[in-house]
Amino acid sequence: MNALEIRGVKVAYGARPVLDGVTLEVPLGGFVALVGPSGCGKSTLLRAVAGLTPTQAGEVRLFGQPVQGCSPDIGFLFQEDALLPWRTALENVALGLRFRGAMRETARAEAARWLARLGLRGVESRYPHELSGGMKKRVAIAQVLAPRPRVLLMDEPFASLDAIVRLLIQQDFLRLVQDEQLSVVLVTHDLEEALLLADHVAVMSAGPGAVITRVYPVPFPRPRDLVGLRGDPAFGALARAVWDDLQREVARLGWEVPA
């Protein structure tokens, strides 16, 4: 059974079509990266799946069941950390648990465990402005994972981090995905990141009215060596193939981002 099935999803902003029948499957425990020209509607697709943007047609199925609105089984990690600035790290992580009706003390204890799992012991009572960019990202990951979603949507979550912090967080993140048996959809503009983290890379066509043109399997075994893998000839060949495909999509736009 698939964790997530997106079938013929159409989204339009007014008269302008953004997604024109997108179909994508994420197997149980699968990790799909979504790449495409900027402005093609990758983020819109995630928002539609999460129930934040209304769809005009098509359906989203979660473990075989159609979803409407925001599902508690779906976690969403945004590009910006979007932590509540007036809540401490611990309170931020406890938020999702509290919304689901957990008692205050239970939620706080669980949140503390999640912060510890992300290597953040001792920052519980700090406010977001007192945390570094990498720490904020870790708090955001803990916040999203604490309510135990089964599917995780990620919209360029690591884009804002510097290279070293990004690598460390990516390593820890992959371990968590495996431990929690999460099924993941990752939107990224970073082709290398897509190939390093995912086991399928889906290429989206240029908008307006984007669709998914091709899905490439990424056959590298796990756990992966995120540094060594880059030098693998097979990695280079796959990157070249996906890049050629992407380039054709971008060229269709005449190198212009649609208005």
């Binding site: 910006e80 979007a82 509540l84 938020l95 689901r100 916040q143």
Partner: protein, 269 residues
Amino acid sequence: MRRAGSLLVLLLAWQGAAEAHWLNPLLVPPPTQVAKALGALFQNGQIWGHFGTTLEEALGGLTVGIVAGGVLGAAAALWPPLAELLQPAMTLLNAVPRVILAPLFIIWFGIGVASKVALSFLLVAVTIFFAMYSGIREVDPRLVDRVRTLGGTGLHLVREVYVPSVASWLLGSLKIAVGFAFTGAVVGEFVASSRGLGYLLSFAQSTYNASLTMALICLVVAVTYALFAGFERLERWIFRWREGRPTPARVPLRQRQDAASRYAAEKTP
């Protein structure tokens, strides 16, 4: 501490200049004489009645202004047609010095307490209206998405996102509103009244009593400053999560108004 020190130096210099007869004591009485006038005001006890009247007017205008401005601002933010309807009037009221309406209010509401409450109400309500309106409009949509995807519903959104974001706009404006409330009351009394600190001021001025005038000015400044400082402490405590960011009160009114007109422009084709 330094501020107190520089104030003391200024007072000493002033006193010295007066002792040396460099200043005309009829126009610029020395601090000791102002203090004596201030003491006399409290000694015969008459000041309390006037003080009470002004306080009553200011607090009355403040309370009603906060409620009305807040409700109208929230309604306009949540219901765009109302924003379009109120936009011209509010922009005009925000742009002109509102105290020019004082004589009109005296004609409408008489020389009693009502006209002063009305003036102080108007000053406060417009300020709070824009704070409330901008506060709700400028809520970070990313935080709304964050709470919704974590499973938060309407009530959670209000408690976790809307109330804290709006509070930061509102509390900054509240400090300004306290000052405005006293401005309204005192100016109203100054125009026409039979009681209040503004009335005493007007009396002191008409009898060319510079020391009494200065004593009354000091009193009004002290009261407003005490309230202002109280609000600032409250604000610092409530916003202990915030670091070094300017409070919205320090965002110029013009800019907040821009946020309002930008919104109205978006809505009108």
